[in-house]
Amino acid sequence: MKRALKPAEAAEMIPEGAVLLIGGFMGVGSPHRLIDALVERGVGGFTVIANDTARPGKDIGKLIDARLVAKCIVSHIGLNPETQRQMIAGDLEVELVPQGTLVERIRAGGVGLGGVLTATGLGTVVAEGKPTVEVDGKTYLLEKPIRGDFALIGARQCDYVGNLEYTLTAHNFNPVMAMAADTVIAEPHHIMPVGMIPPDAVKTPGVLVDHILERLI
């Protein structure tokens, strides 16, 4: 059984300079209240690994606006001009990674693989400086695993042991990120008693989840 944390309590756990895996795709499925609590607290220097930085004033975009992010590893920043501005000004380091490669690198970090062998990025700037590996006459880029100090996970609901359910396009990076961090904090909309979520509906087993945020409603 886990105790339901206030967003501020959860934010307190995260030290300056931490490497954060943050779920969500343009804010959909992101841990909204945790992000707000981090902005409220104002401690930063984070490395943020996520699909994107949303938009200014929205979700991960709020962390960018508040200048709490020193580096981000993302697939897309096209809809956040503030991220681009800080990048061009040299205030924010941005590593752009193809979306499929990003999710596989995080998965590799979570399931203990040594890396990812992929054709995506071959012959492009993504391949620069990276080793290639030949398998049966075909060449693949070797992309390294990614892990975080914390994974901040948005979920539809959970039970008291932390079993998580996601919905529709709010799954995205969340289930994979929940495997790839030393400490996993889940932010569910709802919390249910143990036994209310059928085993077949669980997408992230509670044993992976260290902390649960209080319910939204």
């Binding site: 752009l96 979306q99 499929g100 492009t124 529709l168 995205n172 289930p175």
Partner: protein
């Protein structure tokens, strides 16, 4: 019929019964409007749904159901939620029958550049590199020239999206197929003469004796 509608209508003819299709943001997303209602096609949004549907009725929007551009969508009966690992597993594993993407440049080798303009626009590649590398058919849907500058060029000067040769280029002026021999002009746009196409194209075009006009029923 404006240029974009010509392109979207023509690309829609490439869609076949039973296909799994990914449409990029913007112009490519218009293709769905011109696929026959009774054709069973599944549209994938790479952020997490197979069976993307139309816009929801006003007031019925679900913040957890959007397309890859963050716009509200619906899902059709028989839809499936997928996380990013499954989504890109489908794309990279060859399960996606077709992707339609915008383009900045395509060259004589059929190489596509569509994700950045150095020094001007660095949106990130999002899923584009994975889509172009992994989809069974890659269709580039774009206007033929950008403010008079040809977009179909001898060799891309912008950073490539992938080394993979795209399957087809559809513009309002022409349908062009990259082949081992080079770019073959397959069809003319409505009322467009072959000479106009050649004049608006910087790349060398292979022009067959017969170049039929697009049939946009």
């Amino acid at each position: 019929m404006d240029a974009k509608e010509v392109i979207a209508r023509r690309v829609a003819q490439e869609v076949r019964e039973g296909m799994l299709v990914n449409l990029g943001i913007g112009l490519p997303s218009m293709v769905a409007n011109f696929v026959p209602d009774d054709m069973r096609v599944f549209f994938q949004a790479e952020n997490g749904v197979i069976g993307l549907g139309q816009r929801p009725p006003d007031g019925m929007e679900d913040r957890d159901l959007t397309d890859a551009g963050g716009g509200f969508v619906t899902a059709v009966p028989g839809a499936a939620s997928i996380d990013s690992a499954m989504s890109f597993g489908l794309i990279r594993g060859g399960h996606l029958d077709m992707t339609v993407l915008g383009g900045l440049q395509v060259d004589e080798k059929g190489h596509l550049a569509n994700w950045m303009v150095p020094g001007k626009m660095v949106p990130g590649m999002g899923g584009a590199m994975d889509l172009v590398t992994g989809a069974r058919r890659v269709i580039v849907a774009m206007v033929h020239a950008a403010k008079g500058d040809p977009k179909i060029v001898p060799e891309c000067t912008l950073p490539l999206t992938a080394l993979r040769r795209v399957s087809l280029i559809v513009t309002e002026m022409a349908v062009i197929e990259p082949t081992d021999e080079g770019l073959v002009l397959r069809e003319r746009g409505p009322g467009v003469a072959v000479e106009d196409i050649v004049a608006a194209t910087a790349a060398r075009l292979i022009v067959p004796d017969e170049v039929p006009e697009m049939v946009l029923a």
